[in-house]
């Protein structure tokens, strides 16, 4: 019981060595193993991709293992740390925020794909997060392009049309929220005090991050961070948000009608559309931009990409599969858009048929076309290797922000904690 985590890692290494002896014999020469975290989303998209590849390569097989996302990240991290690579898959899905952390702390663990994939065909910000020393390691996958999802029926009741939400600032959104609350009694937004995603969205919309291109902490002297935190404080104090705790509470608040909008990644579309009886009552607008700093009405939240492990016995087959289907098959991207609601980051896919379609659920708007338009505008930033640490420092200050604390002092506290944690 009193053993340490470090100690567990050593014993874990021994345990994995034993288990891996079994898994080697189980794998056949042509089998591609994949780790992913959502059976209906990224797992299903991977299987769809493979069914296309298999038509040309009938002897290849695929096995997709689905984990809880956090459990998968820990398993990957523990196994890379133990140095036992036998139980690892050929391809693994990694969230963009964590990519640099894995690439830099476990050098040599992932296979560079620069020679196999034409990265100029992909959204630049997706390529940049997976690039270290001129080598790119990822097969860019789903985009976290953000939008403001809102209940158009309720906003209409308060006298607002879609044009009133086009290319606005956060302060304009606050005005609208206050006005809607007065007229209809409805609460605009859900807010989780354990979530720093809103700050990440605002920062990226202004092309900045917790860190600069060299990875130095840029929080205390960053006008965007200050502007974003001040904006957020105004939003909190306008009494147009409802506190929620955890993911299901958060999604439940706007699907049940407790709140009437949320700004988040495009991957939320499937969750919102799951309530078929609300068809026609929803719309999507571009997210608001910051006032006073150089910011656009487009940003990113989350998103993930595929990585090939250097230790994989079948890495040649894995790379060939990724490059031929994920790397260039425009039709494939139409399929996963329609079936999984996955907005990939291959730019040419935007010209395909599915991206032109309108959606009755969102009042007949060409939502995919809109999202892919915003996708091209997202400024690229360096997520660095410490986004998780910086998020934790921000979350620790949210109660102070909500209770009207001095923003300069809050920024100093965040900055100090991040510097301390990233030495």
């Amino acid at each position: 019981m009193t053993r340490t985590i470090a100690l567990r890692l050593r014993t874990l290494g021994l345990a994995i060595a034993g288990v891996s002896a079994l898994s080697i014999t189980a794998a056949t020469a042509q089998e591609i193993n994949v780790w992913a975290w959502d059976q209906n989303f990224n797992g299903a998209a991977m299987e769809e991709a493979f069914s296309r590849y298999q038509a040309e390569h009938p002897d290849a097989t695929l096995s997709v293992e689905i984990f809880d996302k956090a459990a998968m990240e820990q398993k990957l991290q523990a196994q890379l740390a133990s140095g036992q690579t036998d139980g690892l898959p050929d391809i693994v899905l990694i969230e963009d925020y964590r990519a640099q952390k894995y690439l830099l702390s476990f050098p040599g663990a992932f296979e560079p794909l620069t020679d196999h994939i034409d990265y100029s065909a992909f959204a630049p910000y997706k390529v940049e997060v997976a690039t270290v020393d001129g080598e790119t390691y990822s097969m860019p996958f789903d985009s976290g392009v953000t939008g403001l999802f809102y209940r158009s029926d309720i906003l209409e009741e308060a006298g607002y049309t879609a044009a009133d939400l086009e290319d606005i600032t956060w302060d304009r959104l606050i005005e609208i929220g206050v006005d809607v609350k007065e007229k209809t009694g409805e609460t605009l937004l859900p807010l989780d005090p354990n979530e720093a995603g809103w700050l990440r969205i605002m920062m990226q919309s202004a092309g900045t991050w917790y860190f600069d291109a060299e990875g130095n902490v840029t929080i205390a002297d960053n006008p965007v961070v200050k502007d974003a935190l001040e904006t957020w404080q105004r939003l909190l104090q306008a009494d147009i948000s409802k506190p929620v705790s955890g993911w299901s509470n958060y999604t439940g608040s706007f699907t049940s009608g407790d709140t009437i909008s949320t700004f988040t990644g495009v991957w939320m579309t499937a969750t919102i559309k799951a309530n078929a009886d609300q068809s026609g009552q929803w719309a999507v607008a571009p997210i608001p931009r910051l006032e006073g700093v150089d910011s656009v009405n487009a940003s990113n939240l989350g998103g993930s990409s595929w990585y090939v492990l250097s230790s994989a016995p079948d890495k040649e087959a894995a790379i060939d599969f990724l490059a031929t289907v994920w790397g260039q098959d425009v039709d494939f991207y139409q399929d996963i858009l329609v079936n999984q609601g996955a907005v990939g980051s291959l730019l040419a896919a935007r010209e395909g048929e599915a991206y032109q379609a309108t959606d009755e659920f969102f009042g007949g708007a060409p939502v995919w076309q809109n999202f892919s338009g915003w996708l091209a505008e997202i400024p690229s930033v360096n997520y660095g290797i410490f986004t998780e640490e910086a998020d934790a420092a921000v979350v620790a200050q949210i109660p102070a922000l909500a209770s009207g604390g001095n923003v300069d002092e809050i920024i100093t506290a965040i900055d100090q904690q991040v510097r301390q944690q990233t030495q």
């Binding site: 053993r3 523990a78 740390a81 952390k101 109660p399 301390q420 990233t422």
Partner: protein, 276 residues
């Protein structure tokens, strides 16, 4: 000989390795000897301080509350005149054999803003608006303390019950004949006779609480704003959530080892003094 080899491989080697590791700095597996760098990092780390404070608050409130409750339950259930003793004993012991994840999920739903606890309190007019149990720094601590107390009180009660059965009945009879009231029999006979067991449960509970991980991780993930972050959760975050810094995580885990050693020693000391 094989036993010694096993002990060496699985006990002594890991302990020595983690001690060596606690002097290493670096990211991921790129570690190098850093001397006292981790200890100086510890002294300037606001998150470590918050985790340490939270852990000590949990310890100072939860352990006494739980042990007093266990003692009172044990005393009540030791009464042979009580109807349904077996049922109550089982009922109070049951939580500590319940699946940890299952009970955390139940607690989480009970304490959610729209949960049964708020409904109950509102119906009784104890509160006028729902309490944000898991979203407020103070109430989140209360929920975590309640959850651990619920789970482990029965476990400690069993130790007390077993010890009480070993106290000679004739002592109580003599006291009763001398006209000693029930509370005094409990305080001056039962409690002193149980001293070794109380010491044992205190040490075990102290160690358990210093290593607290499961409940805050499943109920609150250490939040809101680190108000339920414990040292063990911090070690976990340093190893698996953040940029892995195994050396620093090992240093923090040795803080727990040292705390356990000091507190256990003090508890033994206190018990010995009173006996003398």
């Amino acid at each position: 000989m094989p036993a010694l080899a096993l002990l060496g491989v699985f006990m002594i080697y890991p302990i020595l390795w983690s001690l060596w590791m606690s002097f290493q700095t670096g990211r991921g597996m790129q570690l190098s000897f850093g001397g006292l760098a981790n200890i100086s990092r510890l002294t300037q780390d606001p998150v470590f301080l918050r985790a340490l404070t939270n852990t000590l608050i949990f310890l100072a409130i939860q352990v006494p509350v739980m042990l007093v409750l266990a003692l009172l339950f044990a005393n009540a259930l030791n009464n042979s005149a009580l109807w349904g003793r077996g049922f109550f004993r089982t009922a109070i012991f049951l939580p500590c054999v319940t699946s940890l994840v299952a009970y955390s999920v139940v607690f989480k739903s009970m304490f959610s803003t729209d949960g049964i606890i708020n409904h109950f309190l509102m119906t009784l007019h104890v509160i006028s608006a729902p309490i944000p149990w898991l979203a407020d720094p103070f109430w989140a601590k209360v929920v975590v303390i309640s959850a651990i107390t619920w789970r482990w009180t029965g476990y400690n009660m069993i130790f007390y019950l077993a010890a009480m059965q070993n106290i000679d009945r004739s002592i109580y009879e003599a006291a009763r004949i001398d006209g000693v009231p029930a509370w005094a029999r409990f305080w001056y006979i039962t409690v002193p006779m149980l001293k070794p067991v109380i010491l044992f449960t205190t040490v075990i509970s102290t160690i358990g609480t210093l290593q607290l991980f499961d409940e805050p991780n499943l109920l609150t993930q250490g939040g809101p704003s680190d108000s339920t972050l414990t040292l063990s959760m911090y070690i976990y975050n340093l190893s698996f959530r953040f940029m892995p810094s195994f050396g620093y995580a090992a240093t923090v885990s040795y803080v727990i080892v040292i705390l356990v050693a000091i507190l256990s020693f003090l508890q033994f000391l206190a018990a010995r003094d009173r006996r003398a």
